[in-house]
Structures are given as structure tokens and as C-alpha cells.
Amino acid sequence: GPKDKDEGAKGTPHKGGTLTILNTEAQTDFDPARLYTSGGGNVPSLVFRTLTTRNRANGAAGSKVVPDLATDLGTPSKNATVWTYTLKKGIKYEDGSPITSADIKYGIERSFAAELSGGAPYLRDWLVGGAGYPGPYKDKKGLDSIETPDARTIVFHLNKPEGEFPFLATQTQFTPVPRSKDDGTKYENHPLSSGPYRVISNENDGEHLVLERNRYWSAANDTQRKSYPDRIDVRSGLDSAVINQRLSASQGTDAAAVTTDTNLGPAELAKISGDKSLAARVGTGHFGYTNYLAFNPKVKPFDNPKVREAIAYAIDRSSVINAVGGTSLAEPATTFLPNQEAFGYTPYDPFPAGKSGNPKKAREVLAEAGYKHGITLTLTHANQDPEAGPEIATAVQDALKKAGITVKLRGLEINQYRDAYKDVKAEPGFFLARWGADWPSGGPFLAPIFDGRQVVKDGANFNHAQLDDPAVNKEIDAINKLTDLNAAAKRWGALDKRISAQALDVPLFHPVYKRLYGKDVKNIVISNWTGVLDVSQVAVK
């Protein structure tokens, strides 16, 4: 996406006005403990500051992690198991009271409470004593592995070396929450702001959210957020076609509107591509994300690597890409890692299928596998899900047909689908899957999928192949020790290539985000971290 870097730069941004955000999904659970975001999220990041945050810059530069409440990215101990942070001076909540390191500790602790579930699993896995900690409501003592020697210092003790801890510290769980203001599940209605905006009203669990300027926030100690508009009005529950229609019409308040969750669909893209003025108002972004075909080698015939390879050869990526909206909405994927430097992207294609599949080679491989006369397989997918839905499944079905592979579709209701593919006992042999990064690095991309110690037997498992390869596990541990993120990235790339030889999955595509914004919206910043326009940067005047 850097090509459209300066689109929104027309005119200089000014303070003032109301920014409208039109969304499909409500901003539910607006509690820093409960949010599961990448880099602090878009709207949440307007209210919640964290120890570190993502760099608000276009393209690849935006994949960097930068300090937020903390003065720097943290000081690791030698083996990266102890991380120490110092808070900036003069940072305040919306009520003027100072932000202390104890509040950050408390904010993290309350995210362990069952009442406030929903966040990412890393704190639980990494912090010493995290796995069994029930949260501050049940265990008043708190987590010993987080120390606050003084009001500005906070120290984290980890189970094992984690060089990417600064990335984790971008998540909303690192938002300060004063114990005195905590009222459990009700906190989400009026969380205490540490960012440039505070919550004026939160109707029906995030259905309609109104934010206004926080007087006590100061640009002096926040280099990332711009805070141009005076007021931000988040409306949700809208149909995606309606959102795009409104943004393209761009009338009234919609002229100063953006969306944080609705992409342009293929039909809209087809229409917009013929309209210069509209095309100029489309922001394009890349988020670390891969859609792929997953195998469960415990199920026949997918235990046979040749069968998996045959499928990899047969796949017609261009028709799959058409199914999700064509070349401008998706890029073909041959690597599991997203095609971005930050992830350590190392191009490879172990089973070259070309643009539209290599059915000849696939038949050969299939014959080697013992299926001379073709084979019949069942592909499990979700019934209604743009990313794992019937559109992609039928495209796969059609592509494999040419290679003599008959695919039967097994569509499941969304909950059933989720339950099924994450349950090692019920996991289908062949299904549509996708993975997105919790932060732009190979770690959170590869580890949950291929780390043998992350095979979850009685819960949600993401290691579909149930791969438990000591060499892979060892390499993961080794990379995690690195605090030099560039060096780590290179090794993640190499690891990805190594795993791919086993054909445990068939990468299909990396989605591209195209989003419209209103005609008065200025200062468009789209980082590779989120892939979408950053609402903390836009101006409407």
C-alpha cells in the first residue's frame, strides 16, 4: 500500500469538527481488559493508552512498535525474561489524576478475572504465575510477577525469554485502570480515559459510542495520536453495503466519516474503479493475514503427504482470489507468513501451482500417492463467513475438479464451524482457515499454528496439523530469546520455509484492505500493522 501514501494529504489538517465512524459491528466490551486488539486497536486506542504502541506511520514504517506511556520500549534483562518500564512524567487520566505504574499492574491483573474475559492469551502464558491467577476480585493479593517499585516503574517477570514483549505491551490490557474506579463488568460504560478522547456515552454495549476531547491529555507526552477532531461519533449496526454507499455519497455528516471495519466489496470496487473522484477516496492497506487450506494429518487420506501436495499443486489461486473480490482485494499467497518484511517474509513456493493451478502435476503426485483415478475429499467450511465461507470453498472445489479431485462441501453454521476446527477430537481433515497476526512479527504467526506445545487437547487448538516437531519447537524458543527484532524476523522467515516443505497447509491469499472515506477526511495514515486507516490521525477540517 505505500503507493497511495499521499492521497489524503490534500490540504493541511486542522483541529475541530466531528468525525463519524460508520461500522457494521458494535464496539462491544469497551473495557481494556476485555478487548482483543492488534496494537491497541483503532477506536480503543483513542481512549486507552498503553505502555507501548504501534508507530502511526504509513506502510512498513507503521509496523514498528514505539513507546506510549513508557519512556522507551522497555529494558530487558539479559535473557529477556525480566522487562522494566518507566512511565513518562505528567501523564494524567481524564479526571486529572496521575497515572501510576500500580494502575497498569491492576489493569493487567483484572484482565485475568473470569468476569472480564476476552483478551489475548499471552499474559497468561508469559507472566510467572499467570496460568493459575484468577484475577484481583478472587485473589486480592495480586500477581507477584508484576512489580511496581515506585509510581513510575513497572517490572515484568516472565516464564521464559520473550524478545517481543514490547509488542505485547501495545495491547489494551496494558492500559492503566485505577482500582478505585473499577466497577467490574460495568466499567466498560465509562472507562477512565488516558488517551486524547473520553467516553461521553456508550449506548447498548458499544452500539453508539460518543467520544469527546480529554482535557488532561497532552500532545506533549503523546507523539503518536493526533487528536484533530473535537468529537468522535461511532455508529454501528449498519449493513456494509449501506456504509459504503454512505461513504461514497459523502453527504452531510458522512463527508467527515470513515469506517474501521468495513472493506469495499468486489461490486463496489468494480463501480469505483470507473470513478476517478471516488477512487481517490479509497485507502489501501495490508494487514498481516493469511487465508489457507488447513489439513489434519490425523485424518485419512491427509496423513499421506502426497495427497496434500497434490492439492497444493492443483490449487487455482486466481479463482480463489476472484471469489474474494479479485486481484485488488487479495494477493496470492505461497508462503504462510504474510508478505511483509516485519514478519520476516521469505518468498518460496515449494509446490508451484502457477497462477491458476497445475492439474497435470497434481494428477501425477496423486498417482504417486496411489490415487490414479482421482479421489473424493470433503472440505469443511463455514456457511456464512466472507473468509471461510462457501464462496472460497466452491472456488477450491472447482479448481481441484480439474486435477481429478472431487470435493464435497461440508458447510457448518459459524459456531459449529469454530467449535469443530478448534477441537482436536472433532477436527476435520480438510478445511478453510485463516490466521492474523496479533502484532507484526513471525512469532504470533507461526507459534500458535506450529508449536507442538501449543496443541490444546481439551480446549481451543490452533495447531491444526497437531505438529509436534522438536526441531521446530527448539527454533521457536531460540528466536523468542532475541531482542533484536530484525534478526528475529529473518529467522522466522527461514522457519516458515522449512515447515512449508511438509505441506501441512496450502496458503491461498493475503487479503488487501480497500476502504472508502468521506470527502472531508484528511491526513490518511495506513500502516502495515493494521492495514486500515488510523482514526487517531485523521482530521475533518
Binding site: 462491544t28 466490551d29 482483543y36 483484572r110 478475572a113 473470569a114 468476569e115 472480564l116 474475559s117 476476552g118 483478551g119 489475548a120 492469551p121 497468561r124 496460568a131 493459575g132 484468577p134 484475577g135 476480585y137 473499577d182 466497577d183 467490574g184 463488568t185 460495568k186 449506548e203 447498548n204 454495549d205 452500539e207 453508539h208 455508529r235 454501528s236 449496526g237 449498519l238 449493513d239 453495503a241 449501506v242 454507499q245 454512505r246 461514497s248 455519497a249 453527504q251 452531510g252 458522512d254 453454521e413 459459524i414 459456531n415 459449529q416 469454530r418 467449535d419 478448534k422 500458535p448 490444546v456 481439551d458 480446549g459 481451543a460 490452533f462
Partner: protein, 350 residues
């Protein structure tokens, strides 16, 4: 009937002593309504209990550990046996319930329909927040499709058998034949996008700004009305023709009344009873039924909330909302019967 004179006698009518039994009727209907609603909750509870979807996992987040999922399940009382949960639900309706927010105990006063698994909001509050939206949608479209439908029906009855009637019928049917998401979207694109006559709908509470309320809802109302009107046109036309065939219409013609007053005063009046009954029925079912319209226009009403609650297996919300929508259907049926009897005093309520 050419060879016989039927000696018709006031048999049926004599059996109908009017509205005197209203109290008893209402009482009986109340009892049966409560039974019906209770049965509905049992059915919905049972059905959605079987529906797949690990609520605790969904609530906890996809990457929660089994232990955490377990904690969440305990927190939501998902480990209790179904009958226990159902019993608690019933008790909550009668006596209220208490819930922990983590830091304090929150009381949910009777009639308490429980807490949403997903949002920790009280279902009753959730419903009270959404009901005005759905109510506005239902009420406004009711008015429009009644005007549109009855008007068309009247016109069709007047012009019966002529080309203009066929045209009218075809036009209203075009509405019926097009799904609401097609009509609604096209209307929105044309009226709001291109012509800019109306704002893109966005719910504004009536209490906040009545003008904006109506202005914003006009399009959803119209879309729904276009779909419903044909039915009313048909019922009205049929009922008017029915009345026109009745003896009392002949009387007024024989007394020199013009076709217009015969149609407008006597025939239309006779057609009102079935229309009222149908309207009350539709009004009731719209509380649970306008899912598509609400979704398309982004109106945060019951229908939309219900569908998303189903998607996340949020049982308390589903049961509570189905109960409330069922209540409206039952209530509307009751009102329909009473209105029917009021419109046509010859009908007795039994």
C-alpha cells in the same frame, strides 16, 4: 336458487349477545396467553440449548485456555443443569435475581430476564432499549401500509375488472415479489444517495427529536409498507367486494345513494374488520419479524439484536427477546379479536 325460497331466520345472530362477556373473555385469554408464553420459553430454551456454540469459549475469546473457559462457564452458570437454569430464569421473572459484576453485586429486579452472556447487560434493559426502535418501525410502517393498502384496495374495488385495477394490482404485487433487502437498498441508493431527498436512516429517538425520528424512519417504513401493502390491498378489495354483494348495500343503492357513498361509507366500513384484525396480527409479528429491515437500515431493534444473539449463542437474550416478541404477537392477537368484535359488534368473543 331458482326454485326455492329460503326461510332465513335470525338463528346465528340471536346467539350473539354482544360484548357483555369482555371481562371473562380477557381473563380466559390472559391465562392462555401466559401458558402460551411459558411454552414458548420452554421450546426456545430447549432448542437453543441443543444449538451448537460453546458460549463460554465465545465469551472468553477464541484463544482462552481450557481453565479460563471453565471459569467463565462457572461465572455464567453454564455448568448448572438445564432445568436448574430454566428454573432460575423463571424465578428471575417473578422474583428478580442478583449478579456479580466482579466488584459488587448488581440486582436485577423482577421481571428479570437474566443477563446477556456477551455484554453483561440486563436483558430487560436491552429489550427496553431496543423496543422503541422496533416499535417505531412497526407503528410507522403500519400506518403507511394501511393507508397504501386500504387505499389501493378501495381503488381496485371501485375500478374492478378494468385495466387500471390490473395495473394497480400488478404494482402492489411488485412490492410483495421483491425481497425487502432489494427494495430497501435500491430505495436507499436512489432516494438517499442520488436524489438526496432523505437522510440515510439512522435511529433518532422520538423523545429526542420527533421530526428527525420520522424523517429518518420514512424510508424503512416505506420499504416495509411497499412489501406489506399488496396483502392489505387484496384483503380490502376482497372484503369490499364481499360487502358489495351483501343485501344492505343493495338497500342503499335502492334508496338513491351514489356509488361513491355506497363504497366509501358502507362497503369500506364492512371491510375494516378483517383489515384491522390482519393489521393487529402483523403489528405483533413485526416485533419479532423485521429482522431484514432492521439489519439493512442499521436500526438497532429487536430483530437485529435477536439474530446477533443467536449467532453468539447468547441464550438469555434469545429467550428474553423471543418471549417479548411472542408476548406482542399474543397481545396483538388478543387486540385483534377485541377490535374485530368492536368493529363488528355482531361477533362474540369466546
Amino acid at each position: 336458487m331458482s326454485t326455492l325460497t329460503l326461510r332465513r331466520r335470525p338463528l346465528v345472530l340471536r346467539r350473539l349477545p354482544g360484548l357483555q362477556g369482555l371481562g371473562g373473555f380477557l381473563l380466559r385469554r390472559m391465562v392462555s396467553a401466559v401458558a402460551t408464553l411459558l411454552a414458548i420459553t420452554v421450546i426456545v430454551y430447549a432448542v437453543f440449548y441443543i444449538v451448537p456454540g460453546n458460549v463460554a469459549q465465545i465469551t472468553c475469546g477464541e484463544r482462552c485456555s481450557p481453565a479460563q473457559v471453565h471459569q467463565v462457564a462457572a461465572q455464567l452458570h453454564l455448568d448448572d443443569p438445564v432445568y436448574q437454569r430454566y428454573w432460575d430464569f423463571l424465578r428471575g421473572i417473578v422474583a428478580g435475581r442478583s449478579f456479580s459484576t466482579g466488584t459488587s453485586i448488581e440486582h436485577c429486579a423482577a421481571p428479570c430476564l437474566g443477563l446477556s452472556y456477551r455484554s453483561d447487560q440486563q436483558v430487560t434493559e436491552l429489550i427496553t432499549a431496543k423496543l422503541p426502535v422496533t416499535g417505531s418501525l412497526a407503528l410507522g410502517s403500519l400506518v403507511i401500509y394501511l393507508l397504501l393498502g386500504v387505499g389501493t384496495g378501495l381503488l381496485a374495488a371501485w375500478r374492478r375488472g378494468r385495466v387500471s385495477e390490473r395495473l394497480l394490482t400488478g404494482l402492489t404485487l411488485a412490492g410483495t415479489a421483491t425481497p425487502v433487502f432489494v427494495i430497501g437498498l435500491l430505495l436507499m441508493i436512489v432516494v438517499c444517495g442520488q436524489l438526496q431527498w432523505l437522510p440515510f436512516p439512522q435511529y433518532v429517538p422520538l423523545t429526542e427529536d420527533p421530526e428527525q425520528w420520522a424523517w429518518n424512519l420514512l424510508l424503512p417504513w416505506t420499504s416495509l409498507a411497499l412489501i406489506e401493502a399488496a396483502k392489505y390491498a387484496r384483503v380490502t378489495r376482497a372484503a369490499i367486494l364481499e360487502t358489495l354483494a351483501e343485501d344492505h348495500v343493495r338497500t342503499f343503492r335502492a334508496y338513491g345513494l351514489s356509488e361513491r357513498s355506497v363504497l366509501g361509507r358502507h362497503a369500506l366500513r364492512g371491510a375494516l374488520a378483517p383489515v384491522i384484525a390482519l393489521a393487529a396480527n402483523d403489528f405483533g409479528s413485526m416485533f419479532g419479524g423485521a429482522v431484514l429491515t432492521e439489519t439493512l437500515f442499521g436500526l438497532p431493534g429487536i430483530g437485529q439484536a435477536l439474530v446477533s444473539a443467536v449467532n453468539v449463542a447468547d441464550l438469555p437474550v434469545v429467550v428474553g427477546m423471543v418471549l417479548v416478541t411472542g408476548f406482542f404477537v399474543v397481545l396483538a392477537n388478543l387486540v385483534a379479536d377485541v377490535l374485530y368484535a368492536v368493529a363488528d359488534r355482531r361477533v362474540v368473543l369466546v
